[in-house]
């Protein structure tokens, strides 16, 4: 297993995702002899996991069962330990596309944060690209580096613990793309500029507040960036379900005076609700939006660093 290469079978040391049910998952590190408790009972790593195929159903000690999934950056994003606010797949997808990332890209990122975006970048730039990620907070930088080792992607990434606004990315003239998720991105743009390859590249800055975006765009313009473009993407997850709606009872249809009398006959009128205590109904399958959803994560500002 690695985050940039699929394996068929589970091995010792792998990180796997235990799927417990709808929106309920947990990541675990496979260690011979170890056990993991779930609400369905214990999973014994040696007998239940090692050597099993990814995607298998595993029966826990209490008889309940779970699926064991191969990790992907997207599964990691919804399962990782939060050390900061993290980026989610909707923003990540657009960042990846709009930064022109692909195998071989060299990327500079700051801050590393909880590593949600980092894993997605690594997946996309492997096997020949490199990620230079800068994290101000020492504890977090160390945690991230450890995760990269655990996830077998350490060879693709360099983690630096420094202040990108003061010290930059620690590399110059190498980047195809730069990503900023820091409180004052405008302070890092001059460093970003230096990090780019001579032929230029793409930059993205993620900020929750519009004032940050305004200052960032201003600085980007001053620094000679082009194609400056700010956008926002919101995703709705729809709940697919059957909906049953009762039909209104409007009384007997088009009755002449005769039939009308019949229907206004007390017995007939009273019989109805007994015979049909509710209403006749129609059922249709539909998809409904959630009652509440993420209404804002941040603004994504993209720009092109021209050659030179």
């Amino acid at each position: 297993m690695s985050f940039v290469e699929y394996s068929e079978f589970i091995k010792e040391g792998d990180v796997v995702i235990i799927f417990l049910g709808h929106e309920s998952m947990m990541p675990i590190k496979v260690e011979a002899g170890a056990q993991t408790q779930t609400r369905y009972g214990a999973i014994r790593h040696s007998s239940d996991l090692i050597g099993r195929r990814f995607g298998s159903k595993v029966t826990c000690s209490k008889g309940g069962w779970v699926y064991v999934l191969h990790p992907t950056p997207e599964l990691w994003t919804v399962n990782l330990p939060h050390r900061t606010q993290i980026l989610y797949s909707t923003d990540i997808a657009n960042i990846t596309l709009m930064l022109d990332l692909k195998p071989g890209s060299v990327v500079c990122e700051s801050g590393t944060g909880s590593g949600s975006l980092s894993h997605a970048i690594l997946r996309t730039i492997a096997p020949s690209g490199h990620l230079h990620t800068v994290e101000f907070h020492a504890q977090r930088a160390e945690k991230a580096a450890q995760e990269f080792r655990d996830h077998k992607v350490a060879h693709l990434v360099t983690v630096r613990n420094q202040d990108v606004c003061k010290e930059g990315f620690g590399v110059v003239g190498v980047a195809d793309a730069v990503f900023l998720d820091i409180p004052s991105p405008w302070e890092a743009i001059v460093h970003a500029k230096k990090a780019f390859k001579r032929k230029g590249g793409r930059l993205c800055s993620f900020s929750p507040c519009i004032e940050q975006v305004q200052r960032t765009c201003e600085t980007l313009l001053e620094q000679g960036f082009g194609e400056i473009c700010t956008l926002e993407v919101l995703q709705r997850v729809h709940d697919v379900r059957s909906v049953t709606m009762p039909l209104v009872y409007l009384g007997p249809e088009d009755g002449g005076p005769e039939s009308a009398k019949m229907t206004t006959d007390p017995a007939a009128e009273e019989a109805r609700p007994v015979a049909n205590p509710g209403y006749q109904s129609v059922t249709c399958r539909t998809a409904t939006p959630p009652r509440e959803m993420a209404g804002h994560t941040g603004y994504l500002t993209f720009a092109t660093k021209p050659r030179g």
């Binding site: 900061t84 606010q85 801050g111 101000f136 907070h137 504890q139 977090r140 820091i182 409180p183 004052s184 929750p208 507040c209 519009i210 004032e211 709705r236 909906v243 709606m245 009762p246 039909l247 209104v248 009872y249 409007l250 009384g251 007997p252 249809e253 088009d254 009755g255 002449g256 005076p257 039939s259 009308a260 009398k261 229907t263 206004t264 006959d265 007390p266 009128e269 009273e270 609700p273 209403y279 109904s281 129609v282 249709c284 539909t286 409904t288 939006p289 959630p290 009652r291 509440e292 959803m293 993420a294 209404g295 804002h296 994560t297 941040g298 603004y299």
Partner: protein, 478 residues
């Protein structure tokens, strides 16, 4: 400076009176209650006596004390002024060691016992937090919100309005109003051209909220006919508006189960029929008071058989009294029925003109059959609007209306509602938003077409072209 004529009546209507419906507000949470003395109401898990609100001005804010008594707060003190917000730009300096709050649980309890107000306690908590200033704004807000919920006990008393009640229902009990969002309700009232002096048909199962909103916009002028399914109209939401009594005179109700009879001219308004209907509805209503009295009657009538025949004068008097009571009850019942018959006749008369000025539907029922049927009561060149939580039933309505004709300018819409946080250097859309506000179908009635064929060619030309385009696009990539 102020208009002297306005001020007097102004003051009058601005005081909270006993018996009135008001809305309690704390933060973004609302609750509708009727002001009654010496009666507890629950709001946000707290018992409250409304007594001290009586005579105060609408819009006043009160602190709730431990006994549930309201104490008026001075204005300017009541806004959420926890504003020594010195936010860190991110939380990179925070190492969570579980020791950031210097106040202990006991400290807080003693603050409370000292009589500190909720907001003051929160300020204490902030001041004693070593990490608050370093937290991101997002985290700070979450923190304050959490603490506020725990320690604050302010209540503002508001005069009800469509806006406030719509937000209240949407926030507290969206299921009761078919998840109708307030911006969607706003759109219904506007697209329906609801205004004073018109005659509007309303079919809703939104607890009476839509009915009340329509009535508010009519201001007691004109008439509203509420079409109801089942045994009787639901109006709790409408009651919460606290309309003056003359508004109620403009309101009529008509049972949906008699619509076909009305349309076919076979509606029977005989007393006998009404009687059966009344029993019918009593069956369906859960707490029918008429059911209780009729049950009492039966008990009374079965009594004599089991009783010994005695001519004891006291007994005779008792029997006489019982007879009188029975007769009185029968009389009352008859009067009620007569009243009901009159109301039904009045509603029928309003509908029979087939000249209503608008139709508003918002229900949990499949809307199509009701829409097609009720449109027959609407005059030509009048707007109608149908709300549904789901899209598919309105697609059906749209399709059927197109086939049948008699309606133009059909539009199926939905909307996004986004709230913003506007603060210096921290402006952004609110992080949580409503996923959907439901769907609306609106249109305008026209005089029924002579020929169906002509009707069909009225609007869809543009659509057909679009469909052709799609087909050809599909073909070209085949």
């Amino acid at each position: 400076m102020a208009d002297p004529l306005g001020v007097e009546s102004d003051e009058e209507e601005c005081r909270i009176c006993e018996g009135e419906y008001v809305v309690l507000k704390r933060g973004e949470v609302y609750k509708s209650v009727q002001v009654e003395k010496r009666k507890k109401v629950i709001f946000e898990k707290q018992w409250i006596f409304m007594d001290n609100a009586v005579g105060q001005l609408y819009g006043s804010t009160f602190e709730v004390d431990s006994g549930g008594i309201l104490n008026l707060r001075k204005p300017k003190q009541d806004e959420d002024s926890t504003d020594n917000k010195e936010a860190g730009l991110d939380n990179r300096h925070i190492v969570d060691d579980g020791k950031s709050q210097k106040l202990t649980r006991d400290d807080i309890e003693s603050l409370k016992e000292q009589g500190l107000k909720g907001q003051e306690i929160i300020q204490q908590l902030i001041d004693n937090s070593t990490t608050f200033k370093d937290k991101t704004e997002f985290a700070q807000e979450k923190y304050i919100k959490k603490k506020k919920k725990k320690y604050e006990s302010n209540v503002t008393v508001l005069k009800p309005s469509c806006r406030i009640l719509a937000m209240m229902y949407h926030g507290r009990e969206p299921g009761k109003i078919c998840h109708l969002r307030y911006d969607t309700l706003a759109h219904m009232l506007t697209m329906g051209n609801i205004h004073a002096g018109s005659k509007i048909i309303v079919f809703e199962t939104c607890a009476g909220l839509v009915l009340g909103s329509v009535m508010e916009r009519m201001g007691g002028h004109g008439s509203v006919v509420q079409m109801y399914p089942g045994g009787g109209p639901v109006r709790a939401g409408m009651e919460s508006f606290g309309f003056p009594s003359h508004f109620h005179e403009t309101l009529h109700e008509f049972p949906l189960c008699k619509v076909n009879a009305l349309l076919s001219g076979t509606l029977n308004l005989d007393e006998k029929d009404m009687d059966s209907q009344s029993n019918d509805s009593a069956d369906k209503e859960k707490s029918g008071s008429s059911q209780v009295s009729s049950g009492g009657g039966e008990e009374g009538s079965s009594e004599p058989q089991s009783m010994e025949v005695s001519l004891d004068p006291a007994e005779a008097k008792k029997r006489e009294e019982r007879e009188k009571l029975r007769e009185q009850k029968a009389q009352e019942k008859k009067a009620k029925l007569e009243e009901k018959r009159k109301r039904l006749a009045a509603a029928a008369a309003l509908l029979e003109g087939r000249n209503a000025d608008g139709l508003v539907i918002a229900s949990r029922f499949s809307p199509c059959s009701a829409l097609l049927c009720l449109l027959k009561f609407v005059a030509p060149s009048r707007p109608f609007v149908v709300y549904c939580q789901y899209r598919e039933p309105l697609i059906e309505c749209y399709t059927k209306l197109r086939e049948q004709g008699g309606a133009i300018s059909l539009r199926l819409t939905d909307s996004w509602l986004r709230h913003y946080q506007v603060l210096p250097n921290r402006t952004h859309p609110v992080l949580l938003m409503s996923g959907g506000g439901g769907y609306l179908l609106s249109g305008i009635t026209v005089a029924a077409a002579a020929s169906g064929a002509q009707q069909k060619s009225s609007e869809p030309a543009a659509k057909r072209i679009k469909l052709d385009e799609i087909t050809s696009t599909a073909d070209s990539s085949a």
